[in-house]
Every structure is written in C-alpha cells, then in structure tokens.
C-alpha cells in the first residue's frame, strides 16, 4: 500500500486554456480547473476526447502557459516564470507521451536521445553523462551495451516507451506527466510498462499525473482519480471510493460503459441520454454534462455546479450527486 498522501507538490487554481479557431471563436479546452497533485501520489486523470485532459497537462508544464489561472509548483508560480527561470525548473517536470515512436527523434541514437536532457540542462562532463545514461537504462530494463548505438526504428513500441521513460527519468524529476502512456501499446506489453512505472515511482520517489481513457488501467495505478468532461472537473476522489460509489452521473456512466473481460458479468447500464458529447467550441450552459445526463433538471441549465466537498477527500461538481 502507498504512504499516506502528502502535501500538494503542484497546485492548479482557476486554470483556463482556450485555443482560437478563427472567426473570433475559441475552443474552451479547460475552464476554471482547480486541482492539487500531492507529493508522492499517482493522480489519475480520466476523460473522453475533447475533455481537456491533455490540454490541462500541457498547460501545467507551461507548454504553452495557460490563458488564465495559477500553477504553483513547490512554492513557485510557474505561470510567471519566463526564459532562464522556466528552463531552470523544467528538469523537475517531465512528460511521457502516448506514441513512443513518434516522440523519439528517429535520426538519433538511443544513447543520444536519453542523454539529451542532461546536455540541455548543462551537465558538461561527458563521463558523468555516460554514467547517468547507463544507470537509467538499466533501471528501465534496457541493456545499455545492446541499445546504445541503435536508433528508435529498430525497436518495438514497448521498447520505445522504455526509452522515453529513461529519457524522462534521467534528470531525476519530481513530477512526471504520463499522457496515455500505454494506449498505443499491445495488450501483452501494457502490463510490463505499467509495472515499470510503478517500480520507477517507488525507486525515484516520483509523483505521477497519469492521463488515460482506460478506467481499469487508471484504477490499477492511481491513488486518486480526477474525472473531466468538456473542460471541467466532474469529480475528484480516492480511487477506491470513486469506483465503488461514483458521485457524479458522468463517472457512473463511464464505469458502466467499461467492457469487462468477463462474459458472466452483465453489461452495465450507462443511463446516458442518447447522443454524442457536445463540441467544446460551444459548451452547454450551466452544467456541461446536462445534455447527456439522466438526472438533469431545469436548475442544471441555468446554474453551473461548482466543485464542492461532499466527504473528506471527495469533491463533486453536481447539483444532484449520487452519494
């Protein structure tokens, strides 16, 4: 079991991300999200496409900075940092992407790829770099002598994801944002990479933000889970309570929709109103989930429900929570 959760390592407050799409219109990717990532935890971030989960992750790494809101990392306000000051903090914040092959430079050798963050952050001693690259390769299960001079195309997706994890770890960061890190991998490889992330977290004392749409994967790896829908948080809770007793109707629908690998388990009832998610270009008034919600009432159209605490460690943004 994990240690009791610590103090916030990263605190987002009122985070807002919008993208212009021409004609004076904007995609409301992330709207006024406040969320803490605690020291030493794995926070799962769940949502469907267009929910804003990847936009949120990039905004907190200042890639690019958000339109509005605050990102406090270890006492420093990241949104106000520029140039050298921002570069100085980057080694503490790393990212792993969904497509491991596309995220590695195809023309570089594996040793160069893993060493690059060290060069960028000013480790000038070549022997020191070699030592650290070898150590991190061994930690992620790559044989340095075997992979050193090879290039990414010679490796499978799972091996490339190991290389990407080595590159993220080499600076010994404090927080790693994992954006769908196993979604592009074959089923028989996923468990290897999930176990590796758990091992690395324990070994290097990492804090993880783990973004995924596969709820079984998220439950497996997360201490707490945050659910997003159309740029807003629906619910934040510890993993066990969220899956046992979802408070937000959208969380309940997501859980019911999971196709479980068990033919004797009856298919759950999502109770969703028919239809697809609305566009983040023009989100519904009030509660953004109301157009699909089985419990929607007139109040949901006029009044956006704020995220509020319903029990210790449990927050939900719904006028009529299920628990």
């Amino acid at each position: 079991m994990s240690d009791p959760p610590g103090a916030p390592l990263l605190q987002m407050t009122g985070l807002t991300v919008e993208y212009p799409v021409g004609g004076g219109r904007h995609v409301h990717a992330v709207s006024d999200v406040s969320l803490a990532i605690r020291q030493g935890e794995t926070l799962g971030l769940v949502g469907e496409s267009g929910s804003g989960k990847s936009s949120l992750a990039r905004a907190l790494l200042q890639l690019p900075p958000p339109k509005d809101g605050s990102v406090l990392f270890d006492g420093q306000e990241l949104t106000r940092l520029r140039g050298e000051a921002l570069r100085a903090i980057r080694p503490h914040l790393q990212m792993i992407f969904q497509d491991p092959i596309a995220s590695l430079n195809p023309r570089r050798r594996v040793a160069e790829i893993v060493a690059e963050p060290l060069i960028v952050s000013g480790v000038r001693d070549a022997a020191e770099r070699t030592r650290r690259v070898r150590a991190v390769m061994e930690a992620v299960g790559l044989d340095p002598d075997n992979v050193w001079t090879r290039r990414p195309h010679e490796f499978s997706g799972g091996q490339c994801q190991r290389i990407a994890i080595a590159r993220a770890l080499v600076l010994e960061p404090r927080l790693i944002v994992c954006d769908e890190p196993v979604s592009a991998l074959d089923v028989s490889i996923r468990a290897q990479i999930l176990n590796l992330l758990e091992d690395m977290k324990a070994r290097f004392g990492l804090t993880l933000l783990f973004i995924a749409h596969d709820l079984a994967v998220v439950k497996s790896i997360s201490d707490r889970v945050a659910v997003m829908y159309l740029g807003k948080l629906c619910e934040v809770a510890d993993s066990a309570s969220l899956f046992a007793n979802p408070a937000h109707p959208y969380t309940a629908a997501l859980i019911a929709a999971i196709p479980e690998p068990d033919p004797d388990r009856p298919l759950g009832d999502t109770r969703l109103r028919p239809g697809d998610p609305p566009s983040p270009l023009d989100p519904p008034s009030g509660c953004r989930f109301r157009t699909r919600c089985p419990h929607a009432e007139p109040r949901c159209t006029t009044e956006a429900p704020p995220l509020r605490q319903i029990a210790p460690g449990r927050e939900v943004a719904c006028h009529f929570p299920l628990v």
């Binding site: 091996q159 074959d186 028989s188 176990n195 997501l254 033919p263």
Partner: protein
Amino acid sequence: MNEGPLLSVRDARVSFATARGALRAVDGVTFDLHKGRTLGIVGESGSGKSVLVRSLIGLVGADSGAEVGGQVLLEGQDLRTLPGARLRTLLGRDIGIVFQDPMTSLNPVMKIGRQIGEGLQLNRGLDRAAAGRRAAELLAEVGIPEPERRARQYPHELSGGMRQRVAIAIAIACEPKLLIADEPTTALDVTVQRQILDLLQREQRQRAMAMILITHDLGVAAGRADDIMVMYAGRAVEMAATRALFRAPRMPYTEALLRSLPRLTDVAHTRLAAIPGRPPDLARRGGGCAFAPRCRYRSARCDAEQPVLTRDGPHGFACFNPVGAGA
C-alpha cells in the same frame, strides 16, 4: 444444427514478399461461421486478424502484393475463385463491412444519404427516390436524429460516433448475410463505443446476420461474441465458446493475456502479471510454437515443432502443454 455453415474458411494463408523474405501474415487458419452467430477474432497488432478477414473478401490479394491460399466458402461458393465483378456484387449485397475509422471509409465528397442509397440502387434495383427514402429510414434505425436533414449532410459534419452509425447503415442497407466489423469502436470514446456495440448487436440479432467482430480488446469480445478465435503470429491458437475461453483457457497465451489485464475488482497498485518478451518478427519465424519464447509451460518440443490446432470437444487449442491438462 442441420444447416451447414454460412461461411467456411479452410487453411487460409496470406504471405507478403519482403526484402527479408516471405512474411507469413496468416498461416493456415480454418473456421466455420453459422447464420446468426457472432465470432470474435481477438489478437494484437501483427497477429493477422485484420489481414485474414480482408483476404477473405478479396481486399488483400495480388493487387496488394500478397499471395493468398486456401478456400473461402460463402454458402458453398468459393470466393477465392470468383471473378472480380461477381465478388464485388457479393460485397455490399451479401457481405457488409464496418471499418475502424469511419472518416476514411466514408466518401468525404458525397452526401451520406447518397452513400447509403448507392448500394440499394445497385444491388436491390431501387430507383433514386426510393433509395433516398430507404436511406433516411436506415439512418433513423441506426439512431441518427433528424434523418432527412442528416442524409443531406457530408461526413465531416458529423461526430465520430455518428459517422460510425452511418457506416453501419451502409453496411446493413442491402440486408447482408454476413457483417464484418473490423475494430469498429477502437477510434471511439468509451461511452460512444458502448452505444455502437449495442447497435451492432441489435442489428445482428434482428436480421439474424452472422457477424465477425475483430478486436484487440478482450472486454469487447467477452460481451458481444458467441465464439472467440484467438490469433497469435498469424495462426489461430485457440477457438472456443466465449464463456469457456474466459473461464478455462487452454492455450497459455490466452491465459497469460487474461492474467495480465488490470481488473476493476482489484485494489489499486495490484502487481500485474506481465507477459515477458514481445510478439515475434513474422519474417524471422523459427520452426516451433511462436509463443514458446514467452511461455511459462514451454518444453523442448515447443521449440522444435509447430503445434496444430487440436480439439478437445468444442474447444480447440494449438499447444503441446495446454493449461488444465493435469500434466
């Protein structure tokens, strides 16, 4: 079951010539599919599941540089020996297909009503007006609101879930006997995936179609298929009724795959039973069982000899050391 199978596949083979030699993408697959049944074909990327099914209907063949072999009988008629024009008539009329990505399978410059009606005019002899009316009915049937208005729209005006509904409407328009769904929900979100799978299952039952559901997701197959065929490195390695496959898998690969999945019933941070290694390079296959290097039950024979699919009652598996044999 007195009736013969609707589809009978015997020793299907597909190989591609590559710079490194012949790549056997599908290596001797045999199965039967009866009317009204759903067969789930499960496998990882490179297992040959999509190539197999595409080769059955001539979408992978000499044109794409592939060498195909074996027999594919639809109601006794061998599709492999059918002239191209006859085969094209069968596709769309007797066989409907739904692909993974509706954005690439739909024609982007044709209104969706026309795309649905095209097959009806061609195969059912409807005139344009009648085909248009039927297209709107089909759109309503697959759950698209305001079908008359939607019929006049283009694919890009619809969401991903809506586009997949249109693709299903096209596939079922001519009342096919066989519906092939190749990863139909992989590109969709989980709540939309659920709606599309419900729709496919409802149509399959109402029309008593046979369905082949290709998926990498064991959860999708568990909930929707009557029977499942598991593929690995181009071969069918296990074939069984869905419940038997999940309750008592015989092939060590299937067992290992099921054990490696994170489960909602497990507490957080439960160690996953990962499968070591990775799938083999098909162009460099040795003579033994393709799964042997990753298998916990491996014996000397597994490296020397390729196991063939053998049957224990209705349950088929290709393994010398099957799970539960009480060795």
